[in-house]
Amino acid sequence: MNDIHEDAFADHTQQPPDDVLAGEYALGLHSGEQRVVLERRLDSDPAFADAVQRWHAQLAPLFDEIPAHPVPAHVWASLSQRIGFNATPLKSTAPVHARPSLWNSLRFWRGFAATATTAAAICLLAVLGLHRQSSPGETPTVASTRADKAMTATLANPDGHPGYVAMMDVSEHEITLMPLDRTATPGKVPELWLLSADGHAHSIGVFDDQRSKRMPIPASLTPMFDEDAALAVTMEPPGGAPGGVATGTVVARGGITRLAFAP
């Protein structure tokens, strides 16, 4: 490209040299037809495209002056639906192909283990209480068999703190979800999902964000409750995710632990 002299710009009705035109385009100073024309030129004129790219790279450090801003969760919810991540509907009980991206890849769940311990301990006591209440006068043999089916899960919020504790008495087909420190989301309810070992998500039901709620476990899901499965909560419209397809992002998640009772 030639050297550019200031005089060249005295007449603003003249098109400037390509280097400057590329800078104008990179800044986005044009509107309407001229912008469209230059956009087309990018495809047909590699030298011009290179010049624009150089400007972009040189201006890019200015982006550091723009602060990042937290993005509301609903943007991802509609985005993922729009690009087909949710294309396969989640039936409430039948296993369907899960979206691994939504359920499995949330790296922020890491580091939860340390904070989970306390809640897990609370949970253990709660399950014990629940278990004794539900099986008065059982013989020890039966009780220990039932204890094999007592499970717990502490569901961590994205910040790693426990958000919910779930207690399961699988032999009784019962699950209780206890919110620990949840601020109610207006117009949304927590929906609990079982993430089975094969990566599928199954709706267990709609719970309450303020109080503990006990629900029956759908019979078809009972065999899937084990230590290789996990539970997750998404925020959904009252009544649950429409068509069994989760629309909210995962707000809490945790693995299932089988309770080992001392003899």
């Binding site: 400037p16 800078g23 800044l27 200015l62 723009i66």
Partner: protein
Amino acid sequence: MSTTAETDHDEAGHLLVATAAGDREAFETLYRRTSPKLFGICLRLIPQRSEAEDVLQEIYVLVWNKASQFDPARARGTVWLAQVARHRAIDHLRARPGLRRLSLDEAPPLPSPQASPAEVTETRGTRQRIAHCIDQLEPSRGQLIRTAFFEGCTYEELAERSQTPLGTVKSWIRRSLAKLKVCLER
């Protein structure tokens, strides 16, 4: 997310390449890591929050569909994303002149040239190159360049805001771009 960290590890670039191959997990990670920054860019250009959210969503739809156009040899992932975001936000502004008009009516006059922020980032050294070159311009012209970049203004809007004839603004900016070019490549 930094747009200019000059490290060998371009995480956003790697995630974009994986996204181009259809890796949904990579795309979601990319979204989680980069969307706050891109949302900041959208909000800077589009004052209406709900519109900015819509545009952010469109940007990531574009990224999902067009990630194959990202060439790691030509740009860092974050730079490419920021560029796509700014371009898309400007398209949105251009398609709805009323949106910008509204905000211009409420907008304060151009900030004084001295008010250029010097936010310290890990990439300060890199940032200073373009900032340094803009600072070499006459203050009012440097401010025009900054306003064009940060607010996505057209020539017409800059003329209106600086209450300067359109032709004069064009000449100023073109001269400024020519000077910047020399300074940047020095």
